[in-house]
Subunit: 276 residues, 2 copies
């Protein structure tokens, strides 16, 4: 496992950096390396950028709830972020963030910030059984096996994704028929998970329709991520399921557990289902 | 079962009406009868008002995804709605809606509209087993049984709620310890469900923490509702579960099936857990 060099910022921190330009505008440089194929940037990656912008002026250090509408796919390169602060209290603060590129607004998000901890839960869903990381299937190492027409995304080089073989049959032409995927995840350069990272992980699996044998892109329409606790260092277990595929729409429901088995994030998105 | 009189608007349609005032501003009259106790209006009810505002200028007739941050509880009475339209295409349209009362903004929402149908799903979670409506427990009819300190909300007179006895033990001082509630719902005046109604139903059960024996209010911080299909007439089955209660936060996950057993809506919210 590569280790973080504390003197070098991680790929994730560099790719999601938000800074204040002269005149006060918030700017980012969207990194083409965090794509899902075809130059389309990952929706979770964009959410991490948006949350960083919200945190700059927030009295609280962590995103706890972020929900975004994806208006259009922004181009890699310069982007601006507009943060409209809402009420801020002792427990939490709200803001609305818009991410725009040269083509105009691409994403609007409600961001709620607060202070997360690691307090023992009063109630928690247990972590599911999953094979060890070593027994799982590295997406990056098997990119040469990608079926014709399937482009292995840049995202899978940034986020080391180890699919549970029980949900990886589609990669070998044997889809399970169940819209269910499960994988261990961590950043390829060893950067440890935190709430900002969980926003990216919460949309980093292939579309659940892959497990049904539909290997097309499923563009996100709206995505909500809840971050529930500070994740422990190490691999996160990430699970995605769909409840209904109908009329050209699909939902994806993620749960993320940290290396101690603690539920640390949940997400739900509505996406367009891949064209057949 | 009372029937809709087609010459009289239903209580829901009246309470969620949005109109254009002189000068073009969108206004609503928030109805104190849709409260959850203590003059606090139900979050799902507010979402229905917000979606109506978004539909006024949308090329599409139905809300398919609505996610809102609850900034502060608005007072019953006059409210204004500000709709900022985003991109609109042949399949869907986006907008950002802000609901404000005299005290300022109370709710900001991302609204996605589209045209829903009743197409047979390619994949769908089956409806859970539940006793018939007649075998379930009417919240309105048993309001005199409310434990000391628990105010039966106005909402429960508007939305006829019949709790599955398996998840109603808390009402008799026998909490199950599982944050899980299930009930049949329909409007008390017989108005049939539609996508706008599902936005209200998606937050109309008591807090799941009631099933744990915590009978306090759990204020919604952020709520996302996805509407998946046009519901058939009749009762809807509404189920809420929590995955984690920790550090003063609780999630609530709803699924709603129509009278034919079709999954028609899903929601997830982050709320503050009741103070003990």
């Amino acid at each position: 496992m590569p280790q973080n060099d504390p003197t070098t910022p991680s790929a994730f921190d560099t790719a999601t950096a938000v800074s204040r330009a002269e005149g006060g505008a918030l700017v980012a440089e969207l990194d083409p390396g965090w794509d899902v194929g075809g130059g389309i940037l990952n929706g979770g990656y964009l959410l991490s950028v948006v949350a960083r912008a919200a945190l700059l002026d927030s009295p609280h250090p962590h995103p706890v709830a972020v929900s975004a509408s994806y208006l259009r796919a922004p181009s890699p390169g310069p982007a601006t972020l507009t943060v409209v602060p809402g009420p801020a209290g002792r427990t939490l603060a709200h803001s609305v963030v818009t991410l725009a590129d040269a083509g105009g607004p691409a994403l609007t998000a409600n961001v709620t910030t607060a202070t997360l901890g690691t307090a023992e839960p009063e109630y928690s869903h247990p972590v599911p059984d999953a094979p060890s990381v070593e027994e799982c299937f590295s997406v990056a190492e098997h990119r040469h096996l990608a079926p014709p027409g399937v482009q292995v995304p840049g995202l899978s080089l940034q986020v080391d994704t180890r699919l549970d073989p029980a949900t990886a049959g589609w990669a070998f032409g044997q889809p399970s028929g169940e819209p269910h995927l499960r994988a261990w995840m961590r950043f390829a350069d060893g950067r440890e998970p935190d709430p900002l990272a969980l926003l990216t992980f919460a949309d980093a699996l292939p579309p659940t329709s892959f497990a049904m044998g539909d290997l097309g892109w499923a563009p996100t329409v709206q995505l909500q991520v809840l971050v529930r606790a500070l994740p422990a260092p190490g691999w996160c277990l990430v699970e995605a399921r769909s409840s209904e595929i109908a009329g050209g729409w699909v939902d994806e429901d993620y749960r993320i557990w940290d290396s101690t088995g603690r539920l640390v994030a949940q997400s739900r998105q509505l996406a367009r289902s891949p064209r057949r």
